[in-house]
Amino acid sequence: MRRPLILVGSALLAVVSEAAVVQGTVAIPEGFEAEIDTTPSMWLIENGLVPIAPPLEDPRTRMVVVLEGGEAAAAAGPSATVTLRDMRLDPRVLPVTVGTAVDFKNEDRSVHALYSPGDSRFAAQPQAPGGLRTHRFDRAGAYEIRCKEVPHVRGVVLVLAGGLFALPQSGGGFRLENVPAGTYTLRVWYAGDFIHTQAVEVGAGDAPSAQIDVTLAARKAAKTP
């Protein structure tokens, strides 16, 4: 269970023109523990020769920035794609709107059998290398995707009822286009929960875009390696 998070967000009010582009950066403060998607082991020992490197994957790439309220309404995309590659899902988190059909492509060299524990309609089916499987998500929610063949293959399809959303890149940068003027609520979803909320006002103006800095609060990871 994830602990309730106390989020302290510093919001930078942006006054932008109509249908502006909102850009921003999600900053991770010191004390922010990322969720390491790993399995338990008996031993985890430092090698004693080379310093331990940070996690190979920036935890912000598993976050979703959502802009809700105002006139923001993302149209349901016709489709989205998740690729099975190097024994993992890419992207690990996929935000979509309700009604979007998601393609799961197996570009690995081994068979996978994806399924969603919370959705009986998305049951495990063997998927050979090169195979494609499509599933439409008709209800909002966070759908965990797992593989029967390779246990560590895990991901999430975050199905949103509306609003605008973006996946931060490695480094935390994100970009939202075609944002109408108005007052919005910016929320950050991570590891099953919305961990940050702040108010954003997008006004009419000459500036084509605005910069929003999102600073997350420190948090403890539910699982440690």
């Binding site: 399995t39 008996m42 020992i45 090698n47 490197a53 190097d86």
Partner: protein, 556 residues
């Protein structure tokens, strides 16, 4: 005989209680043994976890030592930057090195990856392919960050214990790749664990047995039991003790998940011990060993003492209630049969023996009242009382022949048969009584052939110390038959006196009349031959607190 009955009831109750206690104890012991075995299994599971942890740690250290191999370092460092044409050469050289290391290490699965998680080379499963990415594996990701760690993989239906170590650059500044080594879990591995744990062990993957040391078909029923206890296994990290059966084999097993990624594929292991307590009481008896019944561990003395005490109490109750009154009744009956006593002393007899005595007395009294029936006393007593009284019966017939002679003399009234003589009963205890008085009757006349004080001759063993003397009689002219009858009557009179004296002296033994009379007859004959006397005089007296008979020849 209430005491005996109560005692038997108490004994039966104690025996039933002991049996019930034994059965209950067997049941309790069986349950306790099950609990002990379950606890033993829990401890064994803890021990197995620790052993597996120590085992994989040594495996990690071995892999870490090999991960600094120069060929691996060069291969991992160059693979990511190599031109497509060079990749096969790098793969081949690294694979050759992996193969050599694998033989040295005894590992079935070896994989070398570069810093990006791409496979440089592999040995074992799918060893012809390379270049694919394994970055998604937690083990690979941790290794590429610089950690040494373990894991468990399910590959191709087999369970592997995995260990990984980063491959550092030659300058030790960064991680250029990782060495991943897998050891397949097989029966040999389970045997080695069994030797250390003292319990059988089996490994499962995806509901199938992949390795085991038990060698019993019972193991194949365990996956279904594991599935039944899946929730407990997840929540508590182990199952309760599960019972297994196959033929005559009965086992208990505790199941715990394998640590690592394979746990997601239902990989688990089971510690198994033979269940020895099944069968209840019989099995409990079968488990009794020499140590259990040794002097030091079992209270043999109290048990033996209790047994002896129970026997003594039971026998004492039977003796007190049966043997003593029966013997007393027998003695009383013999006395009646021999004419020593007129009736059975039924007041001294307890319970039903007293009833028997009273019945005998009533019979005697009825017979004594009916004179015509006197001749039949001997026959009646003889037929009802057995061997000793049979002789009395014969004697009774002889006595009956004597009675008319006694009655005709009118000198000494002979008491009715079965009642003590007034003469004898009036004699004070311990006083020597001679036969002179009774033998002044026709009886004594029949015995006496002369009156003289002759030397005293010793008698036999039973009548040791006794010396006989026979008073002379004036009735020698009697007919031989009458003389014999008179002699018999006199002997009987002496016998009565002798027995009476013995009683007064407190002597319990009884001398049979036939033997007594035969002895006296023989003694009389010898004295008469020896001293040429006509008769012998017998005197009953007390010698050293015991009744004795003295015989004296009568010459006159």
């Amino acid at each position: 005989m209430w005491l005996s009955k109560i005692w038997f009831a108490v004994t039966a109750f104690v025996a039933a209680a002991a049996v019930a206690f034994g059965l209950v104890v067997a049941s309790v012991a069986s349950g306790e043994a099950d609990r002990e075995q379950a606890e033993r299994l829990d401890r064994a599971q803890d021990g197995a976890h620790l052993l597996l942890k120590v085992n994989i740690r040594s495996w990690i250290d071995e892999v870490a030592r090999l991960s600094t191999d120069a060929a691996l370092t060069d291969g991992a460092e160059n693979f990511g930057h190599a031109a497509a044409a060079d990749a096969p050469f790098i793969h081949d050289s690294v694979q050759a090195r992996l193969r050599a290391l694998g033989e040295k290490l005894g590992a079935e699965l070896l994989i070398a990856v570069d810093a990006g998680g791409k496979v440089v080379a592999r040995v074992g499963e799918d060893e012809g392919s390379y270049g694919d990415g394994l970055i998604g594996y937690p083990l690979v990701e941790a290794v590429l960050r610089g950690y040494r760690r373990d894991d468990s993989w399910g590959v191709g239906g087999q369970l592997y214990r995995m260990a990984g170590s980063p491959i550092p650059s030659r300058t030790r500044e960064r991680v250029v790749g990782g060495l991943i080594v897998g050891d397949r879990v097989d029966d040999a591995f389970t045997k080695s664990l069994e030797a250390r744990l003292g319990s059988d062990i089996a490994f499962f993957l995806g509901g199938k047995v992949v390795a085991q040391s038990l060698g019993s078909p019972a193991i194949f029923s365990l996956p279904a039991r594991i599935e039944e206890n899946r929730d407990t296994l997840r929540k508590q990290g182990r199952t309760p003790a599960l019972e297994l059966e196959a033929g005559v084999g009965r086992y208990l097993a505790v199941v715990a998940p394998v640590v690592g990624e394979a746990a997601e594929l239902d990989a688990c292991y089971a510690l198994i011990v033979e269940r020895r307590t099944a069968g209840g009481f019989a099995a409990l008896l079968g488990r009794i060993g020499r140590d259990d019944v040794a002097w030091g561990s079992f209270p043999w003395l109290p048990v033996a003492g209790g047994l002896v005490l129970a026997l003594v109490i039971g026998i004492a109750a039977m003796v007190f209630e049966v043997d003593v009154p029966l013997r007393r009744l027998l003695d009383e009956s013999r006395d009646v049969a021999k004419g020593i006593s007129g009736k059975v002393n039924d007041a001294a007899l307890r319970g039903r023996f007293g009833s028997i005595g009273r019945a005998i007395n009533e019979t005697i009294e009825r017979l004594s009242r009916a004179k015509p029936g006197q001749r039949d006393i001997g026959a009646i007593l003889g037929s009802s009382a057995g061997g000793e009284l049979t002789a009395t019966g014969r004697r009774g017939a002889t006595l009956s022949n004597v009675l008319p002679a006694l009655g005709s003399t009118d000198r000494v009234p002979t008491p009715p048969i079965g009642y003590p003589s007034p003469l004898l009963s009036q004699q004070p205890s311990g006083v020597v009584r001679s036969l002179s008085s009774p033998l002044s009757s026709p009886l004594s006349s029949s015995l006496s052939s002369s009156r003289s004080s002759s030397p005293v001759a010793p008698m036999g063993a039973e009548l040791s110390g006794a010396v006989a003397a026979v008073e002379d009689s004036s009735l020698l002219e009697e007919e031989a038959a009458a003389e014999e009858d008179a002699l018999e009557a006199a002997l009987l009179q002496i016998y009565r006196e002798f027995i009476d004296t013995k009683k007064r002296c407190g002597e319990a033994d009884v001398v049979a009349y036939d033997r007594f009379a035969e002895k006296l007859r023989e003694n009389r004959r010898q004295l008469m031959e020896r001293f040429g006397c006509k008769d012998v005089k017998f005197i009953v007296y007390v010698k050293e607190g015991k009744a004795a008979v003295k015989a004296s020849p009568v010459k006159a």
